[in-house]
């Protein structure tokens, strides 16, 4: 399933992310992904994303090339207080302008340091107030470095900070409104994602090989330890037509894939489980061995989880399983910590001690060591109890320690979701 030819061209834009740390691999580029999502919503298609190092010449070349190709360029990085930042000089050169200190911004920063930190502003922050002559300042509500918007007859360049929280804030608060007012309406890119768990990418591909996609629509398979996302994307000039087309194909995909679909778009399985609990007036307790708190962290990452999640037990050591949760000494000895009787007693113990209506328990061999021929690395038992009715299941998971733990937490959440549906 590939790009069918779109019936119109969206406004192309290029993203340039700047930093030696990106090329050397010490930082993962999350900014490019965030920008891509936000831009697609307002009808821009990212034609290319480029990462270059902290090197004025490399930045200048990349910005110049991108400006000639698309006339629309967004950079991230290189606006911060430390001296490895040189994006503004590079962009000033592309536009043949000087850098000037914005005195108003200097005063604002000095005031901010006094009131927020009770200190004089360090001299190294002064570089943050430099702007290419004639550039527009973009407000930063989450930090002290302003963004930059500069244009000439070739097109425009918007410069955002590299710190993700500041970049996201400036994109939402300032850049998106500016671009919406600045450029003519160029249609839209809409997407619809179905999130699946428990079925391999290639099996999903086989199930869906006969799905027909209209012109301009594509289907992508996005695998992660938590499951495979199926993302439908359509480019169109009319948002409601595009949405109707997505809804139609989305229903066909959902009908084909069936039970493995747990949600759509940005749905988080933990948030879905919490909502199902709320609807049924349930409360949750967890009992975790190999995941060591990951399942609790997933649930409590969701704002407002405190009306459902009572808490739980990290029963890592067998003594804790026995003493805090009441798991039987004999079952631990005879069946082992990774076994059906133990996982069921963990769930039952969490309910007994915390008085919740639901419980989830996990015990397994996350590796890299601890596997045996009977219970190799990846052997995990999960249990769920809903109104005192206990279910349990053995999983054989692949991946490294991190993946096995993430898959275990996801499988436990999915088990509870299916029971609460």
């Amino acid at each position: 399933v590939t790009h069918a030819e779109a019936e119109f061209r969206s406004q192309p834009v290029e993203i340039i992310t700047i930093g030696d740390e990106l090329l050397l691999g010490f930082t993962i580029d999350t900014n490019g992904a965030y920008l891509g999502r936000k831009l697609a919503q307002i009808g821009f298609v990212v034609a290319r994303r480029t990462s270059v190092g902290d090197d004025t010449a490399a930045i200048e070349t990349a910005v110049r090339e991108a400006l000639l190709r698309t006339g629309a360029v967004i950079t991230t990085g290189g606006l911060g207080p430390t001296t490895d930042d040189m994006s503004k000089s590079a962009v000033a050169r592309v536009f043949g302008r000087e850098l000037e200190i914005d005195q108003e911004h200097v005063r604002w920063m000095q005031e901010r340091w006094r009131t927020r930190f009770g200190k004089e502003m360090p001299a190294s922050n002064m570089a943050q107030a430099a702007l290419p002559r004639g550039a527009k300042k973009l407000a930063n509500n989450h930090g002290s470095a302003p963004g930059v918007f500069i244009e000439d007859k070739r097109g425009w360049v918007a410069m955002l900070p590299g710190v993700p929280r500041e970049m996201r804030g400036m994109t939402d608060d300032t850049l998106v409104p500016l671009l919406e007012s600045h450029v003519p309406q160029h249609g839209t890119i809409r997407s619809y994602t179905l999130r699946t768990v428990g079925v391999a990418e290639s099996l999903l591909g086989d199930m869906l090989k006969d799905i027909e996609l209209p012109a301009g629509m594509s289907l992508a398979y996005l695998p992660a330890p938590e499951g495979v996302d199926l993302r439908l994307t359509i480019r169109g000039s009319n948002a409601s037509v595009a949405d109707a087309s997505l809804a139609q194909v989305g229903t066909a995909v959902r009908d084909t894939v069936g039970d493995a679909v747990y949600g759509e778009d940005d749905d988080d399985l933990a948030a879905i489980v919490l909502q199902l609990c709320r609807n049924g007036k349930h409360t949750i307790a967890v009992a975790e061995s190999c995941t060591g708190g990951l399942l609790g962290a997933r649930l409590t990452a969701i704002p407002g989880s405190s009306d459902v999640v009572l808490g739980g037990f990290i029963a890592y050591h067998n003594d804790v399983k026995r003493e805090a949760l009441g798991v039987s000494e004999r079952d631990l000895r005879e069946s082992g910590a990774v076994s059906e009787p133990v996982v069921r007693q963990m769930a039952a113990g969490a309910i007994e001690r915390l008085g919740s209506t639901c419980a989830l328990a996990i015990t397994g061999v996350a590796g890299p060591t601890g596997g045996t021929p009977d219970k190799p690395v990846g052997t995990v038992w999960i249990a769920s109890s809903v109104n005192c009715d206990m279910h349990s299941r053995r999983l054989s998971l692949i991946g490294d320690r991190d993946e096995i733990r993430r898959r275990s937490a996801q499988a436990a959440l999915e088990m509870l979701r299916r029971r609460l549906m």
Copy 2:
């Protein structure tokens, strides 16, 4: 602090990561970062990283341009079983070759499906066995799509899968040994990172503004919720000379920054704390409210943590703080759940119930709601107990819910590290 001019050129290489999901922002590019780190270790410098969509023409153009610039190109993505994959056709065109089905690989895949999954191979997997004529197959020990290595007088292109686990395995098992034998030795890039916690980037910048760096060495500030990393990088023709130079400057940086440095390079604060516990024959219990298991998950993410971590309590609801940990009803009512007496009783309760020698407790307002004028969002109390000696501290953290939770867990670990030193 910028790139001083290097005295020699490392072998430049370009990375091209392929997938609509990268440009639309539905997937974060972790592959580019992993490759950057691995390549730097064997003397390659990533000159540029480019992301393009699932579009044969765009892939072809990007590969052709990169091949002309550097003669050394690595692609990730587009080798999988689903039909949004088209990298191999594009690269075959760049080299003017046809795609051919590798029958040996088809037989291997068929056998693998029968023995591993007990099923016939889905027909859609056949595309994985296609290779440009004359290309070398790169073994994939973690999946069924082989990689590709192809070259002519312009240079070489290596194609790796997009699934991170497969990409990482192929890089380590196959690509790195191949490149080491294939290309002449071009010197090395060495780096040394000091990891800090608790001091703002701009203050670190001020502290370090007079540090002198020798030619070819750069210093980068890499901020994250867990703290700021200070990374020194040097390019040189001799690894031991480069390492000596890094060690010298690293010592000067460490002396200047002082206590805020908790580790170096890939050190994880949780792993450092576990090792300090092991040295002192300590065991740990945790009691978490706003972090909901995150601290336990950090500790148990480290392989072999089970000799130190006994377990803990996710005391999210006040009833759990009271009943599972013995926090006093009166203190909860009078001081509130986010208070010094409560955090100290949480830590004490965890020790009493689990019998550990150390405990960490966290209770706070992670937001977005729940803040008050007295205790705004970001107010967090942490406590640590070592051999029954209790310390506690109030934090005022900035950021969103996720950042506040991550900073809280990191601050608690750092509190214990300092006490165990």
